[in-house]
Amino acid sequence: MKPARPYEPYLLLAPTLALLTLFFIVPFFVAAKESLFTWDLLTPRTYVGLSNYEILWERGELWRIFRNTLTYSAVVVTGAIVLGLALALLLDRKGLLAAFVRGAIFSAYVVSWVAVALLFMWLLDGEAGLVTRLAMAMGLPKKNWLGDVDLALYTLAVVSIWKIAGYAMIVFLAGLQDIPPVLYEAAALDGAGPIMRFRNVTWPALGPSAAFVATSSLILSFQAFDVVRIMTQGGPVHATEFFVYAIYEQIFLNLRVGRASALTLVFGVVVFSLTALELRLFRRREVA
């Protein structure tokens, strides 16, 4: 469709572009500039070239934060899809009880991250937490869920999955209810069992829902901050230091505006790259 006046599309885009410029593009370039200086907000800036990037790289911080963030995101995205889908399949039925259970599961999504983090800190306390006591009552060894270097990241991921699984469930439920029942009837007539019906009817039809859940949980996991700030403060031994928390720590706790800016820039590049990859995959899928 061709616009009546050639400038009209730009006029419509202008408010969004202005906001994007003000809150994303300009700060991104400001961060790019600041990443070349050392500055603590109080004393004058000193130009250091690429030294902030070098230090982050030499200390292994860049790689560690990148690896932590990706691992956490991969676990959260996979967990949200699997649990959300399982719950949707279980609760895709009529009746008050199913509606109540759906509501109860979804309610976790609307509770604040701070409340969730505090609740799980109590549940997961290494000495007196309910989970620890239950595990010990079952004869399992005592685990320090948030203090163990090998466990803490996965513990945070499980907390995040618990919180967003209800949202994923609702998206999958909407997808399930859009699948015409005749497809199942036809598949049943052809002799397909429950597993075959899921594999050849349900899962392909839920493709867009799964893509949406994957994208939204990826964004959410990349933004993880509250849960880290409250439950682990990036520890133990940096095991739960993700990009957003690391940026906060550098600028506000370590007084390193330059290093925080360098991390912001790298984070921006990672997010842009993942978005580009995702768009490419979607487009390829649409063409297919």
């Binding site: 050392t38 603590d40 907000l41 109080l42 004393t43 000193t46 250091v48 030294s51 230090i55 200390r59 290494g126 000495e127 007196a128 010990m136 060894p141 005592k142 320090n144 948030l146 203090g147 270097v149 682990t232 403060q233 990036g234 520890g235 133990p236 031994v237 940096h238 506000f252 706790l253 370590n254 007084l255 390193r256």
Partner: protein, 419 residues
Amino acid sequence: MSFRVSRRSVILGSMATALACEGRRADEERAALWYSYGGKNREVLQRLLTRFQTEASHPRIDATFQGDYFEALAKVRTAIAAGAAPAMTHVVGEVVPYLAEAGVLEPLDGYEGAADLDLVPALAQSGAYEGGADRPLVAVPFNRSVPIMYVNGAMLDHAGISIPRDWSELRAAAGALTVRRGANVAVWGFDCPVSWWFWAALVASAGGRVVDRTGTVTLGGEAGVRALDLWQTLTHRDRVMPPPLGRDYSAWQVGTQNFLSGRAAILWSSTAFLRYIEENANFPVRVAPLARDVRHAVPTGGTFFVLLRGAKDHEKRAAWQFLRWMTERAQTIEWSTSTGYIPVTSGAIAELRRLGYYEAHRNDEIVLGELDAIEPWPWSPTLFRVQREIMDPLLEDAVLEGTDAATALAKGRKEALRP
């Protein structure tokens, strides 16, 4: 053009002027205080603030809680950069040299009565920092503390041992007090937040210095290694101390809770928790100086009041009035006896002695005795960075992972040299 001024406009104009003057007067008589207290300390501060404001001649102090020490510092720094600094806040001792050298603290020598504050030198700028007396006064002690050893008296008596006085006795006592149930530990013999402050205390006790007299960050040299090695030994070899369970102040809370619930027999913590621990323990709480190595030395902790240079003059005057009032004898005594912080004026200590307070509170008397063992901090603007950025993560890493202490500290020294 004629211009008539009606009676009504004159009255309205006068009222507006009066209101404006009133607004200005109210504005002149108030100052913002950003503080970092929770729990009992906050209750006591609020009580004192309320009392301060009941006197008509006193300015209004708008006190706002700003999170823990480090969160509050982050906010103060950002506010300074934005030109919206409060008139007054309180900051940890390690930060004072950094802020002073950045030129953001108000010199206080010229304020009325600054020379007559009657401060305890070991807790004040003059004695808490090397060369502190030779610098302009920028910090007035508020809640000042030292690290101290808390002991569960019932467990100690049950085990039939005495309070450990040196590191080898500490290891032996912690071993005797630890209770194991299979692979799990029911009672840790010793607990201590793996934090810079206690490590600095261990370094001082082992005869070392974190920063040498030339300003170079040494991290204690051999003494630093011995200090870190002690924690590693207690955690990994002896298995009598729990591994670190969190950074910053959550580690302190965990330690306090472990002690109060009987999951730790000996705790190293701050004197700031003395009253809280005494009031909440269901066993006799005994207090003693930290077990020593080659000498008896402790760093000071807690915070100093500072006025921020960027605030308006009338706000700083109002803040100073509050600060002076807080260092008066009655308030100093109330603050100290209600919390566990050490009284910051000599007059307050003398008065408490006269009243027989220390005879009735032997734990407070022991805390007071630590003033003779104060190891002053170096006046080093990098101290804060070394603490936050290098040592706290390094200590957590080294104690949890059991990495070689000498290698870890060598890496820390290298980091400290970076810009």
